[in-house]
Symmetry: C2
Subunit: 155 residues, 2 copies
């Protein structure tokens, strides 16, 4: 299974970035996975949401290609971890096609990217900071791969 | 509003512990909140789950008193962040009564503690590591207090 994780702008909080590395290392013991930090719209106020999202959409599109795209979206589908694990296994079965997760920036994902998605995934009914949700995603990818590989993974 | 957060055993991952401090500091700008690390059953294999949970139940009970108890539980009630914010505001309205959140250890919470709870809360359909879920809880408490206080808090 070949995985890619895209998000605009690097994680700024040091501890959160350490967790990004922690989970990426663990994931890489089980599957090929790279995180691609795409262009972030900087220096624009929130009232320019349209321009911010346009810039970030273009940055993301450069890395999407013909992948199977899973976007994080708060109104997306919810699954429990065994369901997500089966879903990920199935999505990754075609060896020629990368499974690409996309998480948004401060303002969430541009509509154009959501429309392009093969699947919209919600990790929780609650809203989490866009930095923390990235770690939750990585943790869940690692957990899924552990389940697929028959490893026991701690609660 | 007076808040308390209980869990057995301190967080071992350095980056996760840094995030605990990060969110606790932010929470403390808005409300009185303390984290109490209760006794953790150490050196027992998972097959001794009953004994582990008994030890951890006793440790938690020492700090529960007459509080309003909210236990994290994967089959608990799900809320979105504005709902959780209103719920927390209401729970904290009685000034004499502390609102106490309880998160489990590696094996989850003992049944006795779950039975004692005034409310069972689920943060997600998915299972997260018991260390990461603690951070998710703190983030969500901080977010709720920000909403209650009319502060804008970033996605």
């Amino acid at each position: 299974m070949k995985l890619k994780v895209l998000w605009p702008g690097k994680i700024r909080n040091d501890a959160v970035r350490q967790l990004q590395e922690f989970y990426l290392n663990r994931i890489n013991q089980l599957a090929q996975c790279e995180i691609v930090v795409t262009r972030e719209a900087k220096g624009l106020l929130e009232k320019h949401a349209g321009r911010i999202k346009e810039i970030e959409a273009r940055g993301l599109e450069k890395h999407i290609e013909d992948d199977y795209i899973i976007c994080l979206f708060d109104k997306g589908k919810k699954m429990n971890s065994p369901e997500f694990s089966r879903f990920l296994k199935k999505a990754g079965e075609s060896p020629a096609r990368t499974v690409t997760f996309v998480a948004g920036g401060f303002l969430g994902l541009p509509e154009r990217i959501l429309n392009r998605a093969d699947f919209l995934l919600s990790l929780s009914s609650m809203t989490f900071s866009h930095e923390l949700i990235r770690i939750m995603l990585l943790e869940q990818i690692y957990r899924s791969l552990s389940i697929v590989n028959g490893r026991q993974y701690a609660k």
